[in-house]
């Protein structure tokens, strides 16, 4: 071997994280809409409207420079796209098989005696752990004992990351899990009236809020959300910590908001309220539970997440 051939022969291979980051950047670029020709056209129209070329160009530049950090999102599709793009920028948490995600939330507690739903005037902390495979969830019982249960929709990083990762593909996988769950469900508990779309939205929200998903999968789920019938955009939604965000929203029996940070589109929390009156039978001898429109049923905010080795650790 010659000197040149030997020089720095032992250069270490590319690190897996660096490779994943570079690949994610490439995938983000692939997913970028091709806005340039359209923008030029729109600018062209603006130019025509503004009168002279030079003045209008000046105006265009000023508008771009003055753009606030909080960008205006005009449609739920655009929200999906922007959130997806932002997902690639966040490579902070890498899901590792066998690990658990510790999640600390602030929640409005159950209303108790005051009625069904939650009490918006109160807050409590809630801690849970979810397995990276998506199949298990754990939390502490009042006596301090850790309860580990099966999780819904029971799907995790491994299945969702199978190539190729597309919005249609990940949504189909979640839909299959939801359909399986619906088939097994006990009839007579009220929830069988929920539509498949409603449950699909709820399942995707659940994944977004309780799983450490890789950027590619998060991006695909964000792009998939607007394709679920009934999903819309909702602005200025406040989470349990008072943070105001922008939300994917679905209205069925109840309206649920998946609240995201309006700047970086990170998950903030959830809000849900009953939109139409429902009676849920509680079995012979017990009065039915009546849910009245406007009753809040969930309000949360996620305040901390961490990857840990086993449930119970933080």
């Amino acid at each position: 071997m010659n000197t040149l051939g030997n020089l720095r022969r032992d250069t270490p291979p590319m690190k897996a994280e660096a490779e994943a980051a570079a690949r994610a950047r490439l995938l983000a670029a692939m997913r970028e809409p091709q806005p340039r020709p359209r923008r030029t056209m729109r600018l062209g129209l603006r130019l025509a409207a503004a009168g002279t070329l030079a003045v209008a160009l000046g105006v265009g530049v000023v508008v771009v420079r003055d753009q606030p950090r909080v960008v205006t999102v005009s449609s739920v599709e655009e929200l999906g796209e922007r959130a997806a793009q932002a997902a690639y920028a966040n490579t902070g948490m890498v899901p590792i098989s066998g690990k658990w995600l510790y999640i600390k939330e602030v929640q409005a507690p159950a209303a108790g005696e005051a009625g069904n739903g939650v009490d918006l005037s109160k807050r409590e902390n809630f801690e849970q752990w979810t397995s990276v495979d998506g199949r298990q969830i754990a939390w502490r019982q009042p006596n301090g004992e850790l309860l580990v249960q099966g999780n819904s929709p029971g799907i995790g990083t491994a299945e969702l990351s199978e190539q190729p990762v597309t919005p249609e593909g990940v949504l189909a996988k979640v839909r299959r899990e939801v359909e399986k769950f619906r088939e097994r469900r006990v009839i007579g508990m009220g929830s069988e009236e929920l539509s498949l779309d409603e449950e699909l939205f709820s399942a995707v929200s659940q994944l977004m809020s309780t799983q450490a998903l890789p950027p590619e999968v998060r991006a695909a789920l964000f792009r998939a959300l607007p394709t679920i019938p009934g999903v819309s955009i909702r602005r200025d939604v406040t989470d349990a910590s008072g943070r105001v965000g922008i939300a994917f929203s679905h209205t069925g029996w109840a309206r649920y908001d998946l609240i995201l940070d309006p700047v970086d589109f990170q998950y903030l929390g959830k809000y849900g309220e009953i939109t139409s009156e429902r009676r849920v039978e509680n079995g012979a001898g017990n009065p039915p539970t009546v849910y009245r429109p406007g009753t809040p049923v969930v309000l949360t905010s996620r305040v901390e997440t961490k990857v840990v080795d086993t449930p119970g650790l933080k």
């Binding site: 000197t3 040149l4 590319m14 692939m30």
Partner: protein
Amino acid sequence: MIIETAELDDAELIRRSVGDPEQFATLFDRYARQIHRYAARRIGEQAADDVVGETFLAAFRRRGSYDLSVPLARPWLYGIATTFVARHRRREERLLRALSRTGVDPLPEAMDHTVVSRVAASDKERELAAALASLSRGDRDVLLLVAWGDLSYEEVSQALGIPLGTVRSRLHRARKKSRVVLGDEEELA
């Protein structure tokens, strides 16, 4: 539908990626690591991370102008990577001069929590490093694409978009200059 991409040549993948961008990811999977190795050997791991990212983004954006009659995209990608490596030219030369001066190669960089065992460079290596540092950018690119990128002369010509004759003359000059310090018996590439 899952499209089987394993047997497709690079040109076909690039052709398909014009309408179906995600096909391009297969090129990344095929070449990212070897391009990283080539870049890391010249400018260090961390700078190479950036070079790989930039190379594939640039390649993706320029894919419409790829010559589809060339089945292998490897020279094209090495060419793009080489232009990004050139942005780190001063760093590359500084590292080579440090090796030449101290006899200790600053590469690979010591990353967090890792210990890099460093063997003192031989006199020949120190002289070679000095020679590489003194080459013009164009000459060094040709020499290292051949020696470290394993590109043929024809491929270097494609990669850098220069005539084959220029590849030969640059290589001749680079070898001659290096041979002066290494002695005539040393085969460089």
